[in-house]
Every structure is written in C-alpha cells, then in structure tokens.
C-alpha cells in the first residue's frame, strides 16, 4: 500500500496519541461510567488501523514487533484467570477485595454519588486485564490480514507527491 499525502500524515501523527489517552480513560474508569474492558480495547485498536492507512504498508511492517503483542495477549488472559482463582476459598470468581481496605477496597455511599475511584475490588483489576488482551488480539488480526494480501511492495513508494 502506498502512503498518503503530507497533510494526512501530519494529522495522523498529532491525533494518534489522543486516541490512546481516551481509550485508556474508558478502560480504567470501567466501574464508574459506561465503558469497561471491551469497549476501551476496541478504541485503542483503531490506533493501529490509523497508522497502517496513513503511513503505508512497507513502513508499518518494518516498525511493528509481534513478540510484544503475543506476550501482552497471553499475560492479559493469565491475570484474568488468576484474579478469579485467588478467591477460591469461598467460591470461584469471589470478589475478595471489595470493602477490605486494601488495594481496591473502599466502601461506596448509597444512592447517587460522584464516583470513588478506589472502590470495586477485583472488577477494576479484571477491567485492566481484559483491556490489554483485547488491544493485543485485535491488532494481531489486523496485522495478519494485511500480510495475507501478498502484493508486491515496490522499492520506491509512489505517494501523492511529497
């Protein structure tokens, strides 16, 4: 694929970091506002699509490292399973961190309130783990479906001028 013109590349360089920050906000505040792991992960995965479309295929494939995404996906799923197995003394997936005063435990006042970030025990931990897994998984799908097209990538890029 050929890279697009200078205007599109400049706006992509400026706008891509905003997408990462907004997606991380949606993932981390999953227990206070509508959102969570899956929705925020889909927002951050469109960062890879924007890079692929704006900078062309040859430069994108030279930059990406696949070992990082493979490790991130496996670590995300393992943390999710571990957070479920740690409360095994009562039952599977028991919320043993809620209202305990430790890492994510603070009680919440009843009724409508502005949210408390420190609350909601293992739910906040599982949000982070699922968010990392969805980002890595969707990026993997995009990279490999692009590699499967198998067009000849020329030595000289014919863009829309410089």
């Amino acid at each position: 694929m050929n890279p697009l013109s200078v205007v599109v590349r400049t706006i992509c360089n400026v706008f891509a970091w905003f997408m990462i920050v907004f997606g991380s906000y949606v993932i981390v505040h999953g227990h206070l506002s509508p959102g969570g792991g899956f929705q925020g992960g889909a927002i951050v995965a469109t960062f890879m699509v924007l890079l692929l479309v704006a900078h062309g295929g040859k430069r994108f494939l030279d930059w990406v490292r696949e070992g990082l995404f493979s490790a991130a996906e496996s670590i995300g799923l393992l943390i999710f399973l571990g957070a479920g197995l740690l409360g095994m003394s009562t039952t599977f997936f028991y919320n043993f961190l809620a209202k305990s005063g430790g890492l994510f435990g603070s009680p919440v006042p009843l009724g409508s309130n502005p949210g408390v970030l420190n609350s909601a025990g293992t739910v906040a931990l599982m949000n982070l783990a699922v968010g990392i897994e969805v980002v890595a998984g969707l990026s993997f799908i995009i990279i490999y479906m692009f590699k499967g097209i198998r067009i000849e990538l020329d030595e000289e890029d014919e863009g829309h001028g410089r």
């Binding site: 009843l110 739910v123 599982m126």
Partner: protein
C-alpha cells in the same frame, strides 16, 4: 424466475409470516414481564460489591463465568487467523 428462486421466496415469506404472527402475543413495549432477578441486582450492587456501575458488576462479578468463555473465544479466533495466513515451506 427459475424454480429454485421461487422456492426461496416462498420460504422467506413463511419465515416473515411466522414472525409477524408471533408479534401479536408479545408483551407491550416498556413493561417487562419478569424482573425479580434484576431488582435484586439493582438493590444490592452498591452495598455488597461496592460498584457504581451495575452493568459492569453483572459482566465481571455476578456472571463472571460467561466472560471467561468470551475471552477464550477471542483467543481462539486470533490463533485461527494467524494459523491461516502462515507461509508454507513448499
């Protein structure tokens, strides 16, 4: 039109007719029929689990086992796509 196309059109009409026949008996829009389980979730989510978002507490805490299955489905789909596009040795 050929023969098999008429057969497909008759099948589509039968499915649509069955659906609109079932639409006469459905409950009116805006008054759900059984809501005992959801009233329990809405009333108890803040005192027991200390979570402000009731939907997230259902996905990750009250019904966390379904989310485990969904993580497995996503992992399998990614592995299958990678395995389909691998360059062979021939």
């Amino acid at each position: 039109m050929r023969g098999w196309r008429i057969l497909y059109l008759v099948g589509l009409m039968v499915v649509c007719g069955l659906f609109f026949g079932a639409l006469q008996d459905i409950h009116p829009f805006g008054e759900p029929v059984e809501s005992a389980m959801d009233d329990y979730f809405i009333a108890r989510a803040q005192e027991e689990r200390a979570v402000n978002n009731v939907v997230t507490s259902i996905v990750f805490d009250y019904r966390g086992f379904d989310t485990l299955g969904e993580g497995a489905v996503l992992f399998t789909a990614v592995t299958s796509v990678v395995a389909l596009f691998r360059k062979g040795r021939s």
